[in-house]
């Protein structure tokens, strides 16, 4: 519409403006209602995630504490012999870092890039004050490894405030001082395997919850209200029991002299010597996660099935379909949105599951989240933890995107 045709309100102001004024108050009120939640989410969710993402690529432990060597190494190509100027800068940095009491952190940082260098730094820093030029010779006298290009390469990588080193480490690669990436030796690779293992476990749990949950959801949707309410309580029971109670129950059930194994022995499925190990390993992780996540599969399935009129099945049978055909061709396609929602929910939750594997997973049943927690709490390598977490986030978003393309997020029904 051109300006000349502007529709005017009764008092002569343009109608659009008038409408915006009228809507402003109600919009402001609506915003006021959600503002506390918005702030809460911002402070407790968005900001932490963003700062985590930043941590994955940013680490200034070296550059802020060792400014002189950082500056001079920026021009170094990462392969040639370290020069006298570089040694001079290093010595002055070491002296200052010892005074500032930051040398320990710096040493730890470089040690992550090149293992076994920590003591070189602490030892040399202690003596750096007394060194005389030429510094290169003096340093080599302290420790001949100072001549090693690899050590300097590690320092150069550490000195980069923003570097892909942690993301590289998170996918079992080494970021070199010359800017190249190199895959680690097969025996040193851990994380890619763990990511794959986590995805496989998540898939297994998703399939297990689907297989167990589908018939239950069907029953829930077709039973009369009174019985289905009772069944629903049973389904939701895992939500209501405390984690410790549940864990204890699993241990009692699953351990090698637990209820299940005793029954197996009694039934002759196994012998006393060959009891199954069902807990403190991958099996335990999968069993426990399937149990906990089952409601997340059942509830969306139930809500979708509840909405499918039972006459569809009858119609299919009246048209000549056997029970199975009627189910597969008519009922099942209607439940796909529920399967999609449930599977997406369970899969994404399992990818990030931490506490259950930690409790019942033993050595073998640890997933990527447990390693992230380890780097957060034990090794204090937050940047690596952030990089691993960032990759996990990307995987989740990618799954979500694929789901949207294949099934369509609009088709999702949560209940």
């Amino acid at each position: 519409m051109s300006d000349t045709e502007l529709v005017l309100a009764a008092d002569g102001t343009p109608l659009k403006k008038k409408l915006a004024q009228a809507l402003f108050v109600s919009r402001a009120r609506a915003f006021g209602l959600v503002a506390p939640l918005l702030l809460f989410i911002l402070a407790s969710f968005i900001v932490p995630i963003l700062s985590l993402m930043v941590q994955g690529v940013k680490n200034d432990t070296y550059s802020s504490n060792m400014p002189a060597s950082t500056a001079i190494m920026a021009d170094w190509d990462g392969v040639s012999e370290p020069t006298e100027e570089m040694f001079a800068a290093l010595v002055s940095d070491l002296v200052q870092a010892r005074i500032d009491k930051t040398i320990g952190r710096v040493a730890t940082r470089v040690n992550r890039e090149e293992a076994g260098t920590r003591s070189m730094f602490t030892k040399s820093a202690r003596k750096a004050r007394k060194l005389e030029p030429p510094f290169k010779a003096a340093m080599l006298e302290l420790d001949e490894d100072w001549a090693s290009v690899a050590v300097w390469g590690a320092m150069k990588v550490s000195s980069q405030t923003y570097s892909p080193a942690f993301y590289a480490a998170a996918v079992d690669a080494d970021y070199k001082a010359d800017g190249e990436f190199e895959r680690l030796d097969p025996e040193d690779r851990i994380y890619v395997y763990l990511f794959i293992k986590t995805l496989v476990v998540a898939l297994a749990v998703t399939l297990a919850t689907l297989a167990l949950g589908y018939p239950v959801a069907w029953l829930l949707a077709s039973l009369p209200v009174r019985q289905s309410n009772l069944l629903m309580i049973l389904v939701l029971l895992p939500f209501w029991t405390s984690l410790l109670v549940r864990t204890t129950a699993w241990i009692a059930m699953l351990q090698s002299h637990g209820v299940l194994n005793n029954i197996f022995v009694w039934l002759g499925i196994t012998t006393d010597e060959t009891r199954f190990s069902l807990i403190y390993n991958m099996t335990g992780t999968i069993i426990a996660m399937t149990h906990i996540l089952l409601p997340f599969m059942i509830l969306p399935l139930y809500s979708v099935m509840k909405g499918i009129p039972p006459t569809y099945l009858r119609a299919a049978k009246s048209l000549g379909a056997t029970n199975w055909t009627a189910f597969w061709r008519v009922h099942f396609p209607g439940t796909v949105p529920g399967i999609g929602a449930g599977a997406l929910l369970v899969f994404i939750l399992s990818i990030g599951y931490y506490i259950t594997p930690a409790l019942v997973g033993g050595q073998d049943g640890q997933l990527i989240s447990n390693i992230i927690a380890y780097h957060m709490q034990k090794s204090l390598n937050w940047s690596l933890a952030a990089a691993l977490g960032g990759i996990l986030l990307v995987i989740v978003l990618a799954i979500y995107w694929v789901y949207d393309k294949v099934v369509g997020i609009d088709n999702m029904k949560m209940g």
């Binding site: 009129p309 009858r314 048209l319 209607g334």
Partner: protein, 382 residues
């Protein structure tokens, strides 16, 4: 004559109907309910001793108020509910133990039950696919069925993209596409507006004639039942109150329920004073003495209800049933005038005065003569 049933002029296919009516052996009928009972909860009989025989090619309607057990009967025939007692026979064979998908009965559901994830064409092709029919044959049949319901261009659409009436047609086509001999319809037109309903009634009837199929139809709309059916089974309380051709049902109701349920009816209550062959003399509560046909009224001293159709009452003092009436209300309806009057103490007595030339002009508050023939006055159960 607004309430009179209007029959379609179409030639009604009544193969063997007369024979069936006179026979009684369930084995000779195409569909037969033989002493069927049904209870859902073990306490209440929803269907009580149902006996119904349907000839091949017949159009039988189950008519009755809500909750009278019509759907239950249809579901038992289709195989979705099990009869608690009695046999259901199809072509002389008991089908109690045959699962629904092997009965080969077409069914149209009240809310159509078209499969939402399939196109119209796929919906129609479904019964053919499960019968392992070849692709070209399937396509030909689907096309023919769609053309029969005048929906030839809609094969690619989804059910959600169709109007109610169009969905109705597709549901009908789907029930017919696999050449079922017997088609069940449970209030198929219930969700449509009046005009569309009437058109669909005509079309369903037409398809029935054309294909020679047997139709069992459920409705609680009496004009639908009367216009479409060869015979109507009036249900109430799990019992067939009367099973008859539409004109018989209207003109010769056999009990008070049918008389009241079908069409408009004047009821006058009284006690039988004397029985005289086919006729009875009844003392009405308002003091009048009436002569009526003894249809279903017991003996001397029993209570009875006289049923007289409003259009059979005349405004004169001829014959044995003649009395004074006070005009209470007049409604002008164009082709006739509906007149409510007090007759023998009943103030809801309706008379329809045809708007013919020279008819008597009534005035509210006026007293007039009314009379009716003995054969138009049926003494029924009270």
């Amino acid at each position: 004559m607004r309430q009179r049933p209007q029959h379609f002029v179409l030639h009604v296919n009544r193969v063997g109907l007369e024979k069936i009516l006179s026979l009684g052996n369930p084995k000779d009928a195409f569909v037969a309910f033989d002493h069927v009972q049904k209870s859902y909860d073990g306490e209440i009989l929803v269907v009580k001793d149902l006996n119904l025989q349907i000839a091949k090619g017949e159009f039988v309607t189950m008519l009755g108020p809500s909750g009278s057990g019509k759907t239950t009967c249809l579901m038992m025939l289709a195989g979705f509910e099990v009869a608690t007692h009695g046999d259901i026979l199809l072509g002389g064979q008991p089908i109690n133990n045959i699962p629904p998908h092997k009965r080969g009965i077409g069914m149209v559901f009240q809310n159509y039950a078209l499969f939402p994830h399939m196109t119209v064409g796929e919906n129609l092709s479904f019964p053919l696919e499960v019968r392992k029919m070849g692709k070209s044959e399937r396509e030909a049949k689907v096309k023919r069925a769609l053309e029969m319901v005048q929906m030839g261009d809609f094969a690619g659409r989804r059910p959600a993209q169709l109007s109610g009436g169009q969905q109705q047609r597709i549901a009908l086509a789907r029930a017919l596409v696999f050449d079922a001999d017997l088609v069940l319809m449970d209030e198929p037109l219930g969700a449509l507006d009046k005009q569309l309903r009437e058109r669909m009634q005509y079309e369903i009837k037409h398809i029935h004639e054309q294909l020679g199929i047997t139709v069992v139809y459920v409705t609680h709309d009496q004009s639908e039942a009367l216009t479409m059916s060869d015979r109507v089974a009036v249900f109430d309380d799990g019992v067939i109150q009367q099973l008859a051709k539409p004109d018989d049902l209207y003109e010769r109701p056999e009990n008070a329920f049918v008389a009241q349920f079908i069409g408009e009816n004047n009821k006058l209550e009284g006690v039988v004073r004397a029985v005289d062959g086919d006729n009875v003399v009844v003392d009405l509560e308002g003091g009048m003495t009436a002569h009526a046909l003894a249809v279903n009224c017991g003996g001397v001293g029993d209570r009875t209800m006289l049923s007289i159709r409003p259009e059979r009452v005349t405004l004169n003092a001829e014959g044995p049933n003649s009395t004074k009436a006070l005009v209470k209300e007049l409604i002008y309806l164009g082709d006739h005038i509906r007149c409510r009057m007090t007759v023998s103490g009943h103030d809801d007595f309706i008379v329809k005065v045809a708007n013919s030339s020279g008819h008597k002009h009534l005035v509210v508050g006026e007293e007039t003569d009314v009379s009716w023939q003995i054969e138009d006055c049926r003494a029924l159960d009270a």
